[in-house]
Subunit: 198 residues, 2 copies
């Protein structure tokens, strides 16, 4: 079985950056936007739409659309994307050891890969700083604290809708780290150490 580091993270906690740096250190790939490309290709949906229909959502009532608009089999477009996402992530994990950021890869890959499941969080101050200055995703007059709360809420709800994992509950992850306490480099070091021993 291949080894997969599945990183879940709070919005603004540098989880994605940690994934990318870890991949560089371990010499394996970190999948994030490539996942979107593959899902877009398989579903025929626009990449941006897929981005917004999962835990990356930054606008729109995806939860509503997930529950409404079902076809005669009771499936929504969200469900279809979830199914394709599962296929794409499973194929990746069968092909190579890698890092997958977000998209509930830990849940999807249970029993199919040797998983290191990770949750990255950080204090509000550093998340605000990161979201405002690095992500540059905050609109004028938008309150970054409100944005952070909303994004976490959506990721939690999405996770709850499609998995048995309680988002952010330590018991569901092998390791959880506060990136604002330890810094990105130390988190990468710790995860590399845990990966190597798997």
């Amino acid at each position: 079985m291949n080894k997969v580091v599945a990183i879940s993270r709070q919005y603004g906690s540098a989880g994605r950056t940690i994934g990318v740096h870890l991949a560089g250190k371990l010499g394996i790939s970190c999948y994030d936007s490539v996942l979107l490309d593959k899902i877009a290709e398989k579903t025929g949906f626009d990449k941006k739409y897929i981005q917004e229909s999962g835990e990356y959502t930054s606008s729109g009532s995806w939860m509503l659309s997930a529950l409404a608009g079902r076809d005669y089999n009771g499936h929504s477009i969200q469900d279809e994307i979830w199914n394709v996402q599962r296929e794409v992530i499973t194929e990746l994990a069968e092909k190579e050891s890698c890092i997958i950021v977000g998209r509930n890869a830990d849940y999807i890959l249970e029993g199919k890969a040797d998983i290191l499941s990770v949750f990255i969080h950080a204090n509000e101050e550093s998340r605000v700083e990161r979201v405002v200055n690095e992500y540059k995703e905050i609109q004028q007059k938008e309150d970054p604290r409100r944005k952070i709360r909303q994004m976490d809420k959506r990721r939690r709800a999405y996770c709850q809708l499609y998995t048995d994992v309680q988002w952010g509950d330590a018991r569901f992850y092998d390791v959880c780290l506060d990136s604002s306490k330890f810094g990105i480099d130390k988190c990468v070091d710790i995860l590399a150490e845990l990966y190597e021993m798997m």
Copy 2:
């Protein structure tokens, strides 16, 4: 400020053992039953009673007694023990860098010490194994799974009653580790590494 490793843990997750080994590795003290002695001395209550009136409780309805039996100031015996516990833990942290297992030391010491807050958990299988074969606290015919659930429930409720920490929620700890995934030695290594960088 002294450095304090505050270890919260699921029942049967080897959190206490990790604390003791970590203390040996770092050359500092690990406080656990010594805390009980000090609290017993200060309150005049029996050590066993104190043990049962906190997160170590293994029998009795401490939650009920915490909420009932209040004096005319609205204080219960539980509250008194909590206050003395706070004093004892604060004094320890002012005196020396150390490790404290349980008793919500992370919450008590906020702003009073340089804290590494840790949550140790493990899968049910290894917890049952540990509780049955190492703790030897299971009575005949008692279901260890039930005991584990009860103990966690009590620790969670106690934490909720006296602190703002959501027990087991990754956001409230600097680092959370699954001891059944990594083993006791690796957990000790990781924590020592994080302690050294503080």
